[in-house]
């Protein structure tokens, strides 16, 4: 490997009064790098002159980058007087064949109205597909019930472990901390009114009815929702989905069903677990701040909070779990075979799942406004 010879160019007057631009040295990208601004200035200057002859026969090396650079200052055409070494001829021939079109852009400019329409159609499309997936899921459940031995039990148990068991630590930590914070903040207010014992009502209702299910659902949407979408999406990238289809294995039966059902089973259990830890955190803070002891709190809890609140929370868990699973699988199956689509699909899956969970929670709040409240 030799050190690059600096590329140079100079104007020489030769016989017949012609002015020649003579290039010398290594016209290669390594040699050009550091001297490019100076060379480009020279080339731009020379490019303005007409009737120059170009002598490239003395260069010690020429690569396509240098050729394209010269081509630019020749304004995309071969100058009439040009001599090159025969082995470099191909570069210029090929550049001469480059069609005069703009570099392709894949984003055609569209009007705002058209974009809006496309968005709306896109949304409707997703809605229809999710409905379709849900319908298929119902059929798949029936199919699994009719022939339990054919049901994808192993997939189900693996999905249950991944989305349920492994979520225990994080839901515990978050639940516990939220319980402490909620109890601590409420204590400041309740103490002012001397209503210390109402901490039980406050924590019981808010955690069992709202916070437990919501916290667990949001955490699971972030954890399992994204992982399911990414997993199914990569199966598209690696043609595993095609392989399943070619073997006549239903992707909804083998992939969607176990995951959605696993989430619908795991989430209520996680809700119960989060409730318990949030209450534990709440009791701890209540003891510190208000002197409401452990025994007193638990004795008072069944009277203060109707049991229907717990059931409501668990039902929410089932619905949220099913929603998250359905949305995650839907976006996973919609991933196109490229990495950008995979990233976008995963993001959308989590965002849509969390939004839907909160919308569903609002609907629950309206529909069940008479249930479980004293």
């Amino acid at each position: 490997m030799r050190e690059p010879i600096p590329p140079t160019l100079e104007v020489v007057a030769r016989a017949e009064g012609a002015r020649w631009v003579v290039l010398d040295g290594d016209w290669r990208v390594e040699a050009l790098c550091s001297r490019l601004p100076a060379i480009e200035r020279q080339l731009a200057h020379l490019g303005e002159h007409q009737g120059l002859w170009w002598d490239l026969e003395r260069v010690t090396a020429l690569d396509s980058v240098a050729a394209a650079l010269l081509w630019k200052y020749w304004r995309g055409a071969r100058p009439p007087g040009l001599t090159v070494q025969p082995e470099h001829e191909a570069f210029f021939e090929r550049l001469g064949r480059v069609p005069l079109v703009e570099a392709p852009s894949r984003r055609p400019a569209t009007e705002v109205l058209v974009q809006l329409g496309q968005r709306a159609l896109d949304f409707l499309g997703h809605l229809l597909r999710v409905l379709e997936l849900f319908g298929q899921l119902v059929f798949d459940v029936l199919r699994a019930l009719r022939r339990p031995s054919w049901a994808p039990c192993q997939d189900f148990s693996a999905a249950l472990y991944r989305s349920g068991t492994t979520a225990l630590p994080i839901t515990a930590l978050v639940g516990f901390l939220i319980g402490v914070v909620l109890s601590y903040l409420s204590a400041q207010q309740l103490r002012t009114f001397g209503a210390n014992i109402f901490i039980v009502d406050l924590l019981g209702i808010s955690i069992l009815r709202e916070l437990g299910p919501l916290l667990a659902a949001i955490l699971v949407a972030g954890r399992s929702g994204s992982s399911i979408t990414a997993q199914i999406g990569v199966m598209r990238l690696t043609q595993e989905l095609d392989a399943l289809a070619a073997m006549g294995i239903s992707r909804t039966f083998r992939l969607v069903l176990p995951r959605v059902i696993a989430l619908a089973v795991a989430l209520p259990l996680l809700v119960l677990w989060t409730d318990a830890l949030a209450l534990a955190g709440g009791i701890l803070a209540a003891q510190q701040e208000l002197g409401v002891g452990f025994r007193l709190f638990l004795d008072k809890l069944p009277d203060a909070v109707p049991i229907s609140n717990l059931w409501l929370g668990l039902v929410k868990g089932v619905v949220f779990g099913g929603l998250i699973g359905l949305v995650a699988c839907h976006f996973g199956l919609r991933v196109e075979p490229n990495t950008r689509s995979l990233g976008a699909g995963t993001t959308r899956s989590v965002v849509v799942a969390i939004t839907l969970v909160i919308v569903a929670d609002a609907i629950f709040a309206i529909v069940t406004s008479r249930v479980g409240l004293p």
């Binding site: 490997m1 030799r2 290669r28 990208v29 390594e30 050009l32 790098c33 490019l36 690569d63 396509s64 980058v65 394209a68 650079l69 081509w71 630019k72 995309g76 082995e87 191909a90 570069f91 090929r94 550049l95 064949r97 480059v98 069609p99 079109v101 703009e102 570099a103 392709p104 852009s105 894949r106 990238l237 196109e336 075979p337 490229n338 990495t339 950008r340 689509s341």
Partner: protein
């Protein structure tokens, strides 16, 4: 540079290369060198460590023992600048093409050019289009995503990308696997033409006997972790190692191929 003078003509030098993967010895003190302008093929059965050897050559994994010198430098001990310089002077064609799936074909080929941070978009456009022309892809294909291309087109596009900076050294991993015989022959012709035009040194891993016969100057057979034979195709075929017998015996039942005679 003392090393540069010693190795003036060897583009790739491998000394005592040993690779262990999970306790298994994949390569056992392999030695070979590739001269400038030569096409060097590595053959071997599935799982014999051909691709691992190629990955070691291009520095994607470091050898357990031994040294690999590319263009006169040991990648493991070279400075960052030298490493970068060397990587710019070689092109790698991966088995599956390894095109960036989120980028159009045009942008894929433009990646190494844009990475120079030197050229304006007009020059890049000219360069990319001329590279696509070089590998026989139409300008209309430039806007397509890799998932919209056929296997042969993916290989061509990947080759265009690996040639973007006019490398001196080209690594090909199974360049014709997954191509039909016509496309494979076309690809061989393309590589031959490029070798002529760009005076390339080529290091190739292949399964395909036709490609082997059509392109190789020298062949190395890898089996049981060693290079059991190195030489021209004819010399390697003379070897009495059972692997070589089996390997080339599979060719016996085949039709005589017109490309084989050209080598």
């Amino acid at each position: 540079m003392s090393t540069a003078t010693q190795t003036r003509d060897a583009v790739v030098e491998v000394e005592g290369l040993t690779t262990r993967l999970g306790g298994r010895v994949v390569h056992d003190h392999i030695e070979f060198s590739v001269a400038r302008g030569e096409t060097f093929s590595i053959i071997g059965g599935s799982g014999s460590g051909k691709t691992t050897l190629l990955r070691t050559l291009i520095g994607l994994r470091s050898p357990s023992e031994g040294r690999v010198r590319i263009l006169g430098h040991d990648l493991l001990t070279a400075t960052r600048g030298t490493q970068q310089d060397i990587r710019r002077r070689w092109g790698v064609l991966f088995q599956g093409g390894a095109l960036f799936s989120a980028l159009s074909l045009f942008d894929n080929v433009a990646v190494p050019l844009r990475e120079l941070h030197l050229l304006d978009e007009g020059v890049i456009r000219d360069l990319v289009m001329s590279k696509l022309d070089l590998v026989g892809l139409a300008a209309d294909d430039a806007a397509k995503l890799p998932s919209e291309l056929s296997g042969g087109m993916v290989k061509r596009a990947a080759l265009a990308r690996s040639l973007a900076l006019d490398p001196e050294l080209l690594f090909l991993d199974e360049p014709t696997s997954g191509l039909d015989p016509v496309a494979a022959a076309g690809f061989q012709a393309l590589v031959r033409q490029l070798r002529r035009e760009l005076s390339l040194t080529v290091v190739m891993v292949t399964h395909d006997l036709d490609t082997l016969a059509a392109l190789s100057d020298r062949v190395a057979a890898l089996a049981e972790g060693r290079l059991i034979a190195v030489g021209t195709l004819a010399e390697v075929r003379q070897s009495d190692h059972p692997f070589i017998h089996e390997y080339f015996a599979s060719e016996r039942g085949r039709l005589p191929s017109p490309t084989a005679s050209e080598a």
